[in-house]
C-alpha cells in the first residue's frame, strides 16, 4: 500500500494540479456570485458545460489533421479560450437576467433563489441534451461527445516518475494567468472596487453611486467567463464532454470554493488545488472510482470543522 502510494505520488500530484486548476477556475464563479449576492449559483456548472461545448464546436470546425504546435497552437488555444469565455459569460448574464433578477426585484428569500437556480440548471442541461447538442453535432444528445486532439501528449520534463506533458503545462499556466488577471481586475480597477463594495455592504454601495444591477451583471460575466475558460481547458485536456459534465464538477468546484473560504478569490485558487490533490492522492488508496466520494466527504468535513474555509470567509476584508 505504501509502496503504491510512493510510486504513484508524483504522477497523482501532477494530475491533481491539472484537475485543481480547472476546479479553481470554476470555483471563482461560485465565489464571486456568492460574495455579491449570497447565492449559490447552482446553474454555474451548466455555464461551464456551455464552455466545453463552445470549445468542441470551435475545435471541430478548425479540425486539425494532426495536433498543433508552436504559434499555431497558441493562436488556436487563444481563439478557443476567448470564444468559450465570451459564450459562457453571455450565458451567465442571460441566466442572471432570467432566473435571478426577477427574484432580486421582489426581495425573494434565498431558498426561493436557490430553487430557481436548480430549475435553471436542470433546464439548461436538458435543453442541451434534447435540442442543442443534436443540432450542433448531429449525434444523440446524451452521448459523450469527443473532440479531435489539439495538443500532443509530449513529455516536456519529468520529476521522478512523473511526466509533465505539454497539455498539463498549458492548463495550469492558462488557469494561473486567468486568475491573476481576475485578481488584478477586482483589486485594481473601478469596476472591481464596485464589486468589492457591493459584497461588503450593498446599501452603502448604492449610496456611493454604485449601480447594483451593473455590478451583478459584471460579476456574472466574469464568473461565467472563467467557467468558459475552464470549459475550454477541460475539453483540450480530456477531449470529451457530455451534457451533464458540469454536475459533479460543479459540486466539486463549489467544494473548492468553500474549502478556500467562499467569497475569497485567492481562496478559490487554493481550494481548487488542495481539493484536486486530496482527491487524487486519496484515489491511490481507495481506487479512482471513489474520487467523487472523497471530494464530497472533504466538503462535509470542511463544513463541520471550518465552515469559513482555509483562508477565511471574510471576503470583503480579504479582498479590500
Amino acid at each position: 500500500m505504501l509502496d503504491d502510494f510512493l510510486n504513484q505520488f508524483l504522477p497523482s500530484t501532477v494530475g491533481g494540479l491539472v484537475f485543481g486548476s480547472i476546479y479553481a477556475l470554476v470555483a471563482l464563479g461560485y465565489t464571486m456570485v456568492y460574495g455579491v449576492l449570497r447565492l449559490i449559483n447552482f446553474a454555474h456548472s451548466e455555464i461551464f458545460m456551455i464552455g466545453t461545448f463552445t470549445s468542441l464546436v470551435v475545435i471541430t470546425a478548425i479540425a486539425p489533421a494532426s495536433p498543433l504546435t508552436g504559434i499555431a497552437l497558441f493562436g488556436v488555444m487563444l481563439l478557443i479560450i476567448v470564444l468559450s469565455a465570451a459564450v459562457s459569460g453571455g450565458a451567465a448574464i442571460l441566466l442572471e437576467l432570467v432566473a435571478y433578477r426577477p427574484l432580486r426585484r421582489k426581495g425573494a428569500t434565498r431558498l426561493t433563489a436557490l430553487i430557481s437556480a436548480i430549475g435553471a440548471s436542470l433546464f439548461l442541461q436538458e435543453l442541451f441534451a434534447l435540442v442543442i447538442i443534436p443540432w450542433l453535432t448531429g449525434k444523440p444528445g446524451r452521448n459523450q461527445q469527443s473532440s479531435p486532439r489539439l495538443v500532443d501528449r509530449d513529455t516536456v520534463f519529468s520529476i521522478g516518475n512523473a511526466d509533465v506533458r505539454t497539455d498539463h503545462i498549458i492548463v495550469v499556466v492558462a488557469a494561473v494567468i486567468m486568475m491573476i488577471a481576475l485578481d488584478r481586475l477586482v483589486n485594481r480597477t473601478k469596476i472591481g472596487r464596485g464589486i468589492r463594495a457591493t459584497a461588503q455592504d450593498p446599501e452603502a454601495a448604492v449610496l456611493m453611486g454604485v449601480s447594483i444591477d451593473n455590478i451583478v451583471r459584471v460579476t456574472f460575466l466574469l464568473g461565467g467567463a472563467m467557467a468558459g475558460v475552464a470549459g475550454a481547458l477541460y475539453l483540450m485536456e480530456f477531449e470529451n464532454t457530455v451534457y451533464n459534465v458540469g454536475f459533479v464538477l460543479g459540486i466539486k468546484a463549489f467544494t473548492a470554493a468553500v474549502l478556500g473560504g467562499i467569497g475569497n478569490l485567492r481562496g478559490a485558487l487554493l481550494g481548487g488545488i488542495v481539493l484536486g490533490l486530496i482527491e487524487n492522492w486519496g484515489a491511490i488508496f481507495l481506487g479512482s472510482e471513489w474520487k467523487d466520494v472523497i471530494a464530497f466527504t472533504v466538503l462535509v468535513v470542511v463544513l463541520m470543522f471550518r465552515p469559513t474555509g482555509i483562508l477565511g470567509e471574510s471576503l470583503q476584508k480579504a479582498r479590500a
Binding site: 455579491v36 449576492l37 449570497r38 447565492l39 449559490i40 432570467v98 432566473a99 426577477p102 427574484l103 432580486r104 426585484r105 421582489k106 426581495g107 425573494a108 428569500t109 434565498r110 431558498l111 426561493t112 433563489a113 436557490l114 430553487i115 430557481s116 436548480i118 430549475g119 435553471a120 440548471s121 436542470l122 433546464f123 439548461l124 442541461q125 436538458e126 435543453l127 434534447l130 457591493t198 459584497a199 450593498p202 446599501e203 448604492v206 447594483i212 455590478i215 451583478v216 454536475f247 459533479v248 459540486i251 463549489f254 467544494t255 468553500v258 481506487g287 472510482e289 471513489w290 467523487d292 466520494v293 464530497f296 466527504t297 466538503l299 462535509v300 463544513l303 463541520m304 465552515p307
Partner: protein, 386 residues
C-alpha cells in the same frame, strides 16, 4: 367567491390562487361532519381510483394500477416526506433520494442475505433511513441553509456511488430477487398483481399524512414554523433549533425510507441508478410546484409531476410533432417550471396562507439574498402580504 377582487390580475397563476382561496375559506369554517365527509370522500376516491374506467383515460398505454404505485404513489409518499423538511422546517434537502435508497437497500439486503421477513426489513429500512438522516444532519444542520443544500446533494451522490462501488450490496448490478411483502393469510397475497401494492401504498400515504398533519399542529410543528421564519429569533425564544431541525431531518428521512422499502418490495430489483439526483430534484419540484408546507398542494404537485409525463407519453400527435417520446421532455419542463414558479408564485399552486405571507415578506427560509436594495424600480408586492 372571495377571490373576485383579483380576477382582473394579469397573472394567471394568481387567478388559480384566488379560486383556491375560496375553497380554503370554506374548509376553515367547515363543521366537523363536513370535514369528515371530505376525508371519507378522499378515501373512497383513492379506493376506486384503480378502476379500469378511470385508467383508460388516465393511462391508456400502460397498466393504470402500476402507474398509480410507481411513479404516482411513490412520488406522493416521497413528496410528503420531503415536505416535512422543506415545507415545514424550511431546510432545503437536495439529496432526499439518499433516504429512499437507504430504505430500498435495507429491504433488499436483509431480505436476500438474511432471509428476514419483509415487514421486519421494512421497519429496518425506516430505521436505517432515520439513522442516516441523523448522521448527515448532526454535523451539517448547524450550517447555513444554502450550505446544507449542497451537503445533502453531496450526500445523495455519496450514497449512490458507494452503492455502486460496494460489491456486498451488488455493486452496479444491484440486488435482484428482493422478496415480496409477506402474505397475510386470508387477507391479502402479495404476488405479481399490482392491486395489493396499491392499497398498501394508499395505507402508507394515509398514515403518513395523518402523522404529518398531527405534527404540524403540535409543538413540533410550531417550532418548525418559527425556525423557518426566523431561526435566530426562534433560538432566542428558547426553541432548541438544532434539535428540531434534526428531528425534521430524521422524520423526513423515515418517510423516504418507508417509500424505498415499499418500492423495493414491489419492484423486486433495485440498482444504484434507481436513485439518481434527478429524482431528488423531481420530488423537490413536486413539493415546490404544489405549495411547500401545504399537504393537499404537495400531493397535487406530486401527482401532476408523476402523472403528466406518463400521460403525454401516449399522446400520438405530440409524439409525431416532437419526433420522440414526449416524456423525455419532462425534466426540461420541471426545470422551466421551477424557474417560472419562483418568479411568479414562489408559494406554489396551493400554498398554505402562512407560507405565502412568509415568502412575500422575504422571510420563510434562509434569509434574503444580498445586493437587493429597494430602489424606485423595485416591485414590492404588498397585496399578497395578507
Amino acid at each position: 367567491m372571495k377571490g373576485n377582487g383579483v380576477t382582473g390580475n394579469a397573472n394567471p397563476l394568481r387567478r388559480v390562487g384566488a379560486l383556491v382561496d375560496g375553497a380554503r375559506d370554506w374548509w376553515e369554517h367547515a363543521k366537523a361532519w363536513q370535514r369528515y365527509a371530505v376525508y371519507l370522500g378522499a378515501v373512497v376516491f383513492a379506493l376506486i381510483l384503480p378502476a379500469p374506467a378511470i385508467g383508460t383515460f388516465m393511462s391508456p398505454g400502460s397498466d393504470w394500477t402500476t402507474v398509480l404505485i410507481y411513479p404516482i404513489g411513490t412520488y406522493i409518499l416521497l413528496a410528503v416526506g420531503l415536505n416535512v423538511v422543506v415545507g415545514q422546517a424550511g431546510l432545503l434537502d437536495l439529496g432526499f433520494v439518499a433516504f429512499f435508497a437507504m430504505g430500498g437497500y435495507s429491504v433488499a439486503y436483509f431480505g436476500t442475505e438474511y432471509g428476514w421477513n419483509y415487514w421486519a426489513t421494512a421497519v429496518m429500512g425506516i430505521a436505517m433511513a432515520a439513522v442516516s438522516g441523523v448522521i448527515l444532519g448532526a454535523p451539517t444542520l448547524r450550517l447555513r441553509g444554502d450550505y446544507l443544500a449542497i451537503v445533502t446533494l453531496g450526500f445523495g451522490e455519496i450514497v449512490r456511488i458507494t452503492a455502486n462501488n460496494t460489491d456486498e450490496i451488488g455493486g452496479a448490478r444491484g440486488i435482484t430477487n428482493v422478496p415480496h411483502p409477506t402474505d397475510i393469510p386470508g387477507v391479502v397475497d402479495f404476488g405479481l398483481l399490482p392491486a395489493p401494492y396499491y392499497y398498501l401504498i394508499v395505507i402508507a400515504i394515509v398514515l403518513v399524512i395523518i402523522f404529518s398533519v398531527r405534527l404540524q399542529k403540535s409543538r413540533v410543528g410550531r417550532a418548525w414554523a418559527a425556525i423557518r421564519e426566523d431561526e435566530d429569533a426562534a433560538e432566542l425564544m428558547g426553541v432548541p433549533t438544532f434539535k428540531f431541525k434534526l428531528l425534521a431531518f430524521a422524520i423526513g428521512a423515515m418517510i423516504g425510507g418507508l417509500a424505498g422499502g415499499l418500492h423495493a418490495g414491489r419492484a423486486v430489483f433495485i440498482e444504484p441508478n434507481t436513485f439518481p439526483f434527478i429524482l431528488s430534484a423531481t420530488i423537490l419540484a413536486a413539493v415546490v410546484l404544489g405549495g411547500a408546507g401545504n399537504l393537499p398542494g404537495v400531493i397535487l404537485g406530486a401527482f401532476v409531476i408523476a402523472w403528466l409525463p406518463e400521460r403525454f407519453r401516449e399522446v400520438n400527435w405530440l409524439k409525431d410533432l416532437l419526433g420522440r417520446d414526449p416524456a423525455e421532455y419532462r425534466i426540461l419542463l420541471f426545470g422551466g417550471v421551477l424557474v417560472l414558479m419562483m418568479a411568479l408564485r414562489p408559494e406554489g399552486l396551493l400554498p398554505s396562507r402562512r407560507r405565502k405571507a412568509e415568502l412575500h415578506e422575504g422571510t420563510g427560509g434562509m434569509g434574503t439574498m444580498g445586493a437587493e436594495v429597494t430602489g424606485p424600480d423595485t416591485d414590492v408586492s404588498t397585496e399578497a402580504a395578507k
